[in-house]
């Protein structure tokens, strides 16, 4: 009896999943999520099962891909596969920090701005937000690196300083709408504290749009982190990071394409996975 029950459960769950996938955009979302989880999982598991260290010299330089070294060896005789996978925390991890910190800070500022009553204060902060948003991110990041100095943590700091403004803008627009809803008034009449209303009633309703933007921002931030490293402004040479590795291999492109191509493919893989998710979600949202 029990087994039949579970089987029926599995069946319905599978059916539900099938139904969910068959909705518009489902295929893109599933493909994107599985692609992204694959690279993250590899990045997490890899240090435990890899035969080499990312900075270890394991053989003669410029060995082409072989069974022993599937991605070949680079100009210093380091295993390109180990380095490519060891770069996951440097790229996706840093990009995740660079998206989530501004997301939290920006959304909170946006909500508080939506609550604020003082007209001059609101217009002052709004114009600061617009001013920050007007600048091209990569250019301003390059400029700020010139006084913070190169480094991945500095990139996170720069992204926090620059990117909160976009989230604040989105959150403020939504918060103004949410605050006029009846359920907020109801919560106020129930005598809930301001803190509770902000965190339990306003934030969940505001954050859906911020999260949607955060996902597409993730792509941009991954590209910016690796682009800055490519220019030699974020991760410094011995570190395993996709952009820096591509820059490393650039000189030897003619003789040793594998040094450049494999980190590049990993980088594209993650960015494309995210863009499939974004694309699928937007199609689902539109319903076609």
């Amino acid at each position: 009896m029990k087994t039949i029950n579970t089987a029926a459960n599995v069946q319905t769950r599978r059916q539900r999943l099938k139904e969910w996938v068959s909705l518009p955009g489902g295929f893109g979302i599933i493909t994107g999520i599985s692609m992204f989880l694959t690279i993250v999982l590899i990045g997490v598991i890899h240090p435990f099962i890899s035969a080499y260290e990312p900075d270890e010299f394991v053989g003669e330089s410029f060995q082409p891909p072989s069974w022993q070294h599937p991605f070949g060896l680079d100009q210093l005789g380091r295993d390109v596969m180990t380095r490519t996978f060891a770069a996951v925390p440097a790229d996706i991890g840093v990009a995740f920090l660079g998206v989530s910190i501004p997301l939290v800070i920006g959304t909170l500022i946006g909500i508080l701005l939506g609550l604020a009553k003082n007209k001059y204060f609101v217009s002052l902060v709004s114009s600061i937000i617009d001013g920050i948003n007007a600048f091209p991110l990569l250019i301003i990041a390059i400029a700020m690196i010139s006084f913070l100095g190169p480094g991945l943590y500095n990139v996170v700091i720069i992204l926090t300083i620059m990117n909160w403004a976009r989230y604040a803008r989105i959150a403020r627009t939504k918060a103004v709408v949410v605050l006029q809803q009846n359920y907020i008034e109801a919560a106020q009449l129930m005598g809930y504290s301001k803190k509770r209303i902000i965190f339990k009633h306003v934030t969940p309703n505001v954050s859906s749009e911020s999260l949607a933007y955060a996902l597409s921002d993730f792509i941009l931030v991954i590209i910016i982190v690796s682009g800055l490293s490519f220019l030699g402004l974020a991760a410094r040479p011995p570190a395993a990071e996709w952009g820096a590795m591509i820059a490393d291999g650039r000189t030897y492109l003619g003789d040793a394409w594998w040094i450049t191509i494999f980190p590049g493919v990993a980088l594209c893989w993650s960015a494309i996975a995210l863009s499939f998710i974004v694309e699928g979600l937007s199609r689902r949202d539109k319903g076609n």
Partner: protein
């Protein structure tokens, strides 16, 4: 302004490691780095009004002079890419927007989102690998400042930039064409029997262009970023490569001058973009 209060001493960088302390101090005096940051800022701001952006700390050339020398190439490069991008994306997005086939639209959106998600420096690497290393159709890097000669150096970077722009522009244009298709005046145009070219040009394209042109300022940000990276890769002597070089050498006046210039360009172009959008579609509010 903040750039002044930074670690990294340009005087020391310029003399190289192993320079004597007295020599560094002397150079700091000569470059006026020994006065307080506030004084430095005031003298910079007053110079700004006289059109003086200062002098490079590394090469002693005036910043304005460097911008004047490097800007034409960057502008040529950007305008060529934007021109070709519009030339290619207008027919593509009109065709995709007009055909109602789901498979065509999915394919189009899939390909463009892959192009947008691929970092431009990686596209450039693949381009170099295919066209410079394997085929020798383009030089790997470098530039010659003569008219027919320079096309040989420019075509690969320009086409890479165009490819990325086509993906961005055609996506926006396509979705805007789909919106336009639902408007009543399009139906009126069909019923009145307007000739085909006139119909597509004035009834479909003209109103659909407005959102694309408004994007110009957003595209400008992307373009400037792409220029910095692509100029560095292909060693084109443009303003973007100058910026990266200045940052790496902590040449503050240079970084400040170029940034200020980029800011002015961005603001100016977004204003032009808004004006064009208004000219194309009078329903757009300025």
């Amino acid at each position: 302004m903040l750039i002044r209060i930074t670690p990294g001493d340009p005087a020391a960088t310029r003399l190289g490691a192993g320079a004597e302390l007295e020599a560094i101090e002397a150079l700091r005096k000569q470059l006026k780095l020994d006065v307080s940051p506030i004084e430095q800022f005031l003298s910079y701001a007053s110079g700004l009004f006289r059109g003086d952006l200062g002098v490079s700390l590394v090469t002693d050339v005036e910043v304005l002079e460097v911008i004047r020398n490097t800007l034409p190439l960057t502008l040529t490069y950007i305008f060529l890419s934007v021109f070709f991008a519009f030339l290619i994306s207008i027919p593509i997005s009109t065709l995709v927007g007009w055909s109602n086939k789901a498979s065509v639209v999915y394919l189009f959106r899939g390909i463009t989102s892959v192009i947008i998600a691929t970092p431009n420096f990686f596209i450039a690497m693949i381009g170099i690998l295919l066209f410079s290393v394997r085929r020798e159709w383009a030089p790997v890097f470098g530039y010659v400042n003569d008219f027919p000669e320079n096309l040989k150096y420019l075509w690969l970077p320009v086409s890479i930039n165009t490819l990325i722009l086509v993906a961005i522009i055609s996506r926006v244009l396509q979705s805007s064409i789909v919106d336009t298709k639902g408007e009543e005046f399009v139906e009126t145009g069909i019923i009145r029997g307007v000739s085909r070219p006139r119909f597509f040009l004035f009834y479909i394209l003209k109103p659909s262009m407005a959102p694309t042109v408004v994007l110009l300022s957003y595209m400008m940000g992307i373009m400037l970023g792409a220029t910095v990276i692509l100029e560095t890769i292909f060693s084109l002597p443009g303003i973007g490569r100058e910026l990266v070089g200045a940052v790496l050498a902590s040449d503050y006046p240079m970084v400040q001058g170029i940034l200020l210039f980029f800011g002015v360009i961005t603001v100016f172009l977004s204003f032009i973009g808004d004006l064009c959008a208004y000219a194309l579609d009078r329903r757009v509010k300025l």
